[in-house]
Point group: C2
Chain length 329, copies 2
């Protein structure tokens, strides 16, 4: 690839997570579906929050988590996402910049507050997410700085960007800038219900605009409305690289005729799976932009995912660069 | 004691903690003294925060932590403290109410933001705290609801209340209401430098207004400006009960002629000592208001302290009531 200022530029919904312990009975009482992300409005957010246990606040957002991970690994990373200029927006900006991420998207001055994701963590370490998009609905094409995108080896976008109204225009603008500059575009399918909401457009994106796709089994199966093996066959013709995560089974990477199967990293205790997919993408994209082979990329992804599920929250606690240095690759 | 609506009413600085990993080199670069609490203004808070690693936000405040612990143990608890009506203030209020705590102090509508404590956690699990008091400076005697204090077996106050200007008047008002109603007044000495700042008044409080005092070795030694053994002899004549924590040595409780020495609970890994003293007081006061003997109170304190130092943050993650039920008392 050409010289680059950034390894990866990420574009996503800028969200602060509110994490609290929960149980199946509470999920049932609140009418929530375990393991998925549901969009809620401000009134629903207040109503659910009022019933949640005491929590902790932690910067989140799917691609933002990945970008924090890439920076933590030693990669050069940039982020585009919309917060409001409020306390949680300041927290979100601080946490990315403190990780060394270039993050200059202007904060919204009025309108909705910084987005929040209410994350209910059950004893089985599953996370059930209710997202109030707040200021994310203000993200639009004007927030895309062409010089940042053109200077990044990979531009990484989340499927969740299809939920706020103007973000998809930002997405398409960024993808065009990236490709015009000879760069790669990566996409996370985000969530099976996100795929349900936007299937037709996601299929078109994969066919025409996306070079690298990240998905888990239910997302890729939902996209092609078929079983896992058939979905894998179909995605092979659509993207240069498809990295499919399979929870405790590790991941499968498909690229042209190559198939790489990578087992999961051992984890002593799974505490909270929030961010597992995001950190897998972080490790994978870091490896890819460092010129590593696909098997190493998959292993780096698994190593970062293993770190994040060992504690509460979706931003790494450990020094990921040291973690990688300790592991033989 | 007479019938009571609440076991313990707490009055303290209502603070949201911002916790981040740090190291000795950063403490030195920032000119911070390890292990103590320093008061900072808004500009200092911004400057230190800008240099801190990515963090998590978690409700804190010394007595608020204790009150959350008492409620988590199954006790009936109330809290008085001043937040602003902003996002972090809403987080603070939510986290106490979600724990079942009665908390009705009016939020400040304008003026300074909700108080923040920047907590730098070093690899030795020590915490170094920089507190911006923010809206806490608005707490005054009008915030004391006599009906709540008179209906609480114990009113528990923190030495830190001597830092904001009007809070000491609230403190004295509450102590008088409590004693007039035949209730007990408990005080935490909070921090050795807090004792330095307010020694003369603290000595007067202990002699005339406080029935139960919580301190660690350096606080009680600082109060009497002498060694630990001499300090223990002096406090005996000043309070009905003095509960002195000694880190890994456990605690010593002095009451009249009785001295109870309690070893520390075993802890598999000490992660973050933030809140250890607060949770000791929670367990102790819970035991006391349930009519348990001093040895049991000390053990309950040690059990709760052991829970809090096993993870990041000063609010319990485990179900304390279940933890106690599993332990033989």
């Amino acid at each position: 690839m050409a010289d680059s200022t950034f390894d990866v530029a990420g574009i996503g919904n800028a969200i602060v997570d509110v994490l609290a312990h929960s149980d199946d009975a509470q999920l049932a009482a609140l009418g929530l579906s375990k393991g998925v992300m549901t969009l809620i409005d401000a009134a629903q957010a207040d109503a659910i929050y009022a019933k949640m246990a005491p929590g902790i606040e932690c910067s989140g957002g799917s691609v933002a988590n990945s970008i924090a991970g890439i920076a933590g690994l030693g990669g050069k990373a940039a982020y585009v996402g919309k917060v409001k200029d409020d306390q949680l927006g300041q927290v979100f900006r601080h946490d990315l910049r403190a990780q060394g991420v270039h993050f200059d998207t202007k904060a919204a001055i009025d309108g909705a507050s910084t987005a929040r994701c209410l994350v209910l963590v059950t004893p089985d370490a599953q996370r059930t997410m209710q997202t109030y998009l707040g200021a994310c609905i203000e993200l639009g094409p004007d927030d895309i700085d062409p010089s940042v995108i053109a200077a990044s080896q990979v531009t990484y976008l989340e499927g969740y960007l299809w939920d706020p109204p103007q973000a998809k225009a930002a997405f398409r603008k960024a993808a065009k800038i990236a490709h015009d500059a000879g760069r790669k575009v990566a996409l996370s399918l985000s969530d099976p219900f996100c795929v349900e909401r936007h299937r037709a457009e996601f299929l078109e994106l994969l066919a025409d605009h996306v070079d690298i796709v990240f998905a888990n089994e239910s997302e890729i199966s939902s996209l092609y409305q078929t079983d896992f093996d058939s979905a894998v066959r179909q995605v092979r013709g659509h993207c240069d690289i498809a990295a499919i995560t399979r929870s405790e089974l590790g991941s499968v990477v498909i690229s042209g005729d190559a198939v790489v199967v990578q087992g999961a990293e051992p984890v002593s205790a799974v505490i909270d799976t929030t961010g597992a997919g995001d950190l897998y993408a972080a490790g994978f994209l870091y490896g890819l932009t460092q010129g590593r082979d696909l098997g190493t990329c998959a292993r780096l992804g698994g190593l970062c995912a293993a770190e994040i599920i060992g504690h509460v929250g979706a931003r790494p606690e450990a020094n990921l660069a040291e973690l990688v240095a300790k592991t033989s690759f």
